[in-house]
Subunit: 147 residues, 2 copies
């Protein structure tokens, strides 16, 4: 299940993506528009900033804008930043790989094979769909089986 935090992050980014790049949005403005607790949203945006997705300016006339364009930010990327790895099993994550403590032979693990398949299907969609796609309603199609 997608966390509330990730949902907020995506909504906030979509809000920014709807604006011309040179036009800033206030935290308070996004919070009100999308019904997100303001202090919580602060943390989220800061996190997204630290990962290079948005930029900000302080003081009067300050606010947030996208740093990358809406078609360069994938949904999957955002989810991973906020919620961490999407893999259903730790042994299926590339960035946060961990062996399953009790799995004697990973290459023959029945569960691993099944979930690798389903995970690949999910990732195919989320990593190929961008904020821009989401706004126009064009979700990526699941990619056909690789091998």
């Amino acid at each position: 299940m997608l966390s509330q935090k990730a949902k907020y992050a995506l909504r906030a980014l979509l809000a920014l993506a709807e604006r011309p790049t040179d036009q800033v949005m206030l935290i308070a403005e996004i919070a009100e528009r999308d019904h997100i607790p303001k202090k919580f949203l602060e943390q989220i945006l800061l996190d997204l900033k630290h990962h290079g997705l948005v930029q900000s300016r302080r003081g009067r006339g300050g606010g947030y804008t996208l740093l990358k364009s809406a078609d360069e930010i994938s949904i999957g990327q955002v989810v991973r930043i906020i919620d961490g790895p999407m893999a259903p099993l730790p042994c299926l994550s590339r960035v946060a790989y961990r062996r399953c403590s009790d799995c004697p032979d990973e290459s023959r693990c029945a569960l691993r094979k099944v979930f690798a398949e389903s995970h690949a299907a999910t990732v195919a969609v989320l990593d190929r769909t961008t904020l821009a796609d989401a706004l126009t309603g064009n979700a990526a199609e699941p990619v056909p089986k690789v091998a």
Copy 2:
């Protein structure tokens, strides 16, 4: 992320699926074989029994067996029993549908569309792959886009 509990449940069911149907397995036996805390496994098997996937007998010579055959039990079914709905958003679950509290128009929600797509891809694999498939290493392929 798949819960530890669901992992245990699947492993236990796979263990049972490897046995001839008339041959029972003790909780203790499964627990030891798959390194699952015994008391925890008791609860899990009981849960699976209440959902009609396994049956049990008490006393000497007792133990657990599958109630349905291994090709009639899908991975998705087990995950839902143990972990609840797999939908990434409450508004995408059929059995446990809930409106997103702050979503003004579900039919036009950009997030819903994207995650509906990815969720469909996941479900396609997990609901079509059975215990029997998992044992033989034949995971289902992601189903092509419906519409």
